[in-house]
């Protein structure tokens, strides 16, 4: 772009200077033209530099998910606005499965991937009515990978993550909340969290959020436990935010209406649970003040060695406890 503009300007100047004008006027005109061209070139240079910086920031702060529909559901990039870290203002809502993965399947043909989408729509409305911003990992019948879903959550600041599931088994019309089971303590992190253990610093917060939602679900749905439980849920492990999985029982119900009847209660419990959790939301700090941004392993630049430090484009005031690029490994 820059070269094209230069060519155009220089050819113009040549044509003008070779035209039949008085010698004095020609010199004055050429001098003015050179000055104008310099100003224009300077302006081009400055604006193109800004674009490069902006592109780098966007790449590091919010790795683009591979799913187009999911991208469309994201709010505009309000990265700077969200840097006020200890304010919870966003819920990343994850209707599980989708695409070629139907999840649990009931004898009557119910598919978990379809039912959770409808639950998510109601939960989204309930959360928005509480003044919370909602980012959904999928809106249609797609199946983003576990890492893509986590990346969407990790790109947000001041967010919690809620993944919605329907079980195959269990007492009908009950709901259980799960948080990730214990992960090995982070040591010698140099301020970075391995992607595979992104949930580690958030476990306590996740449990608080889980208990808040579970207690409300227990009031609504008799037979549900009073406290959240822990399980090695794959989706939660790579999420650098307070994260819970809500599993509703079950696709084995005789009639779909039984599940549909639960949706408003589940939506209300989650929305009120998140609001109740809001005062507890404090971003956990890491041993080192070095800050980084969340990037899934698939987004590792080819030149960066595994486990390398955070991207240079990371703003200094970014999320202090976000996950960094790190090789995949065993969580235990």
């Amino acid at each position: 772009m820059l070269l094209d503009v230069r060519k155009v300007y220089s050819s113009l100047a040549l044509r003008l200077s070779s035209s039949a004008l008085p010698p004095g006027a020609s010199r004055a005109f050429v001098a003015t033209a050179v000055l104008a061209l310099s100003a224009l070139l300077f302006w081009q240079f400055v604006s193109s530099s800004n674009n490069v910086v902006a592109a780098q920031s966007t790449t590091a702060a919010a790795p683009a998910p591979q799913n187009n529909t999911a991208t469309a559901s994201q709010p505009p990039n309000n990265f700077q606005a969200n840097l006020q870290t200890n304010v919870l203002n966003t819920v990343v809502l994850d209707p599980a499965h989708g695409g070629t993965d139907p999840g649990a399947r009931g004898t009557g043909g119910l598919r978990e991937s379809e039912v959770v989408l409808e639950f998510a729509a109601q939960i989204r409305r309930a959360l928005e009515s509480q003044g919370l911003q909602v980012v959904q990992t999928r809106l249609g019948d797609e199946n983003p990978s576990f890492d893509d879903r986590s990346a969407m959550a990790n790109a947000q600041r001041g967010a919690v993550f809620v993944t919605i599931h329907i079980s195959s088994t269990g007492l009908p019309s009950t709901a259980r909340v799960y948080t990730n089971s214990d992960l090995p303590p982070l040591s010698n992190t140099n301020g970075l969290i391995p992607w595979d253990q992104a949930q580690s610093p958030f476990l306590d917060l996740s449990r608080k959020l889980g208990d808040a939602v579970q207690s409300l679900l227990a009031q609504r749905f008799k037979g549900s436990p009073n406290e959240s439980q822990s399980a090695a849920v794959r989706q939660l492990r790579t999420t650098a935010a307070p994260a819970i999985a809500v599993e509703i029982s079950s696709v084995s119900v005789e009639k779909r209406e039984e599940l549909d009847r639960m949706a408003p209660g589940v939506a209300d419990a989650i929305a009120r649970g998140v609001v109740a959790f809001k005062p507890s939301y404090v971003v956990p700090s890491l041993p080192s003040p070095t800050q980084s941004l969340s990037v899934p392993p698939s987004a590792t630049p080819a030149s960066a060695p595994p486990g390398s430090a955070a991207r240079s484009a990371a703003p200094p005031s970014a999320h202090p406890a976000a996950a960094s690029v790190a090789p995949k490994g065993s969580p235990q």
Partner: protein
């Protein structure tokens, strides 16, 4: 035919229909039971072929604690004590208890692992990591869901924990491979910590 005969025939037919109506549900139940028995027999035959009996009958029978689903809460486990001729070798012991766990409890409703799943191999690393390699059916036939998948893994982990104290952590492989999840939810990329069974309580000491 005289009207009297006609009445007798109608009464006899009505009685036959009534008897059939009463007997039909019983007959249906028997057919179903026979089908289940056939299925179980086939499953047993397959198991006998694929899983040679690992226990040595001459080994002393010990009370092994196996964990199956609870009657009271379908998301919880309950220990069931079974007499098994368990050896002292931890790998053999692990295979024995896992095969018994896979065979399922008396009440099939309480099973935690799919009937068509099989233990292919069990390894014990020097650092105490037990590696259980199951057939593909464990992943494909376990009902998809956090609760059901956790119940399956917990039953394996708790059973090993109770019977093979040498195992400190458990790694589950499917057909020799590490997989991301069991059936879409539960993370199998890591290991599951096992806490050794607590020592039996020591008798209270009398104070002088």
């Amino acid at each position: 035919m005289t009207p009297r005969w006609r009445v007798w025939i109608i009464v006899a037919l009505a009685a036959a229909v009534g008897a059939a109506a009463v007997y039909f549900p019983t007959l249906r139940k028997r057919v179903k039971q026979a089908a289940i028995l056939t299925q179980q027999t086939e499953e047993q035959a397959r198991r006998e072929l694929t899983q040679p009996f690992l226990g040595n009958p001459s080994e002393p029978r010990v009370k092994a604690k196996l964990f199956w689903a609870s009657h009271a809460d379908d998301a919880a486990l309950t220990p069931v004590t079974v007499d098994l001729p368990l050896g002292s070798d931890p790998v053999l012991r692990a295979k024995q208890v896992l095969n018994t766990l896979l065979a399922g409890p008396v009440d099939a409703e309480l099973r935690t692992l799919p009937p068509d799943a099989a233990l292919l191999e069990f390894y014990l690393l020097p650092n105490g990591t037990g590696i259980a390699d199951f057939s593909e059916a464990l992943a494909t036939s376990t009902p998809s869901g956090i609760a059901s998948e956790q119940l399956a893994v917990e039953s394996i982990a708790r059973t090993l924990e109770a019977n093979v104290p040498q195992i400190k952590r458990l790694k589950i492989l499917i057909h020799g491979q590490e997989v991301d999840t069991l059936a879409g939810h539960l993370d199998l990329t890591g290991t599951f910590p096992l806490s050794p069974a607590p020592p039996p309580p020591s008798p209270p000491t009398k104070k002088p």
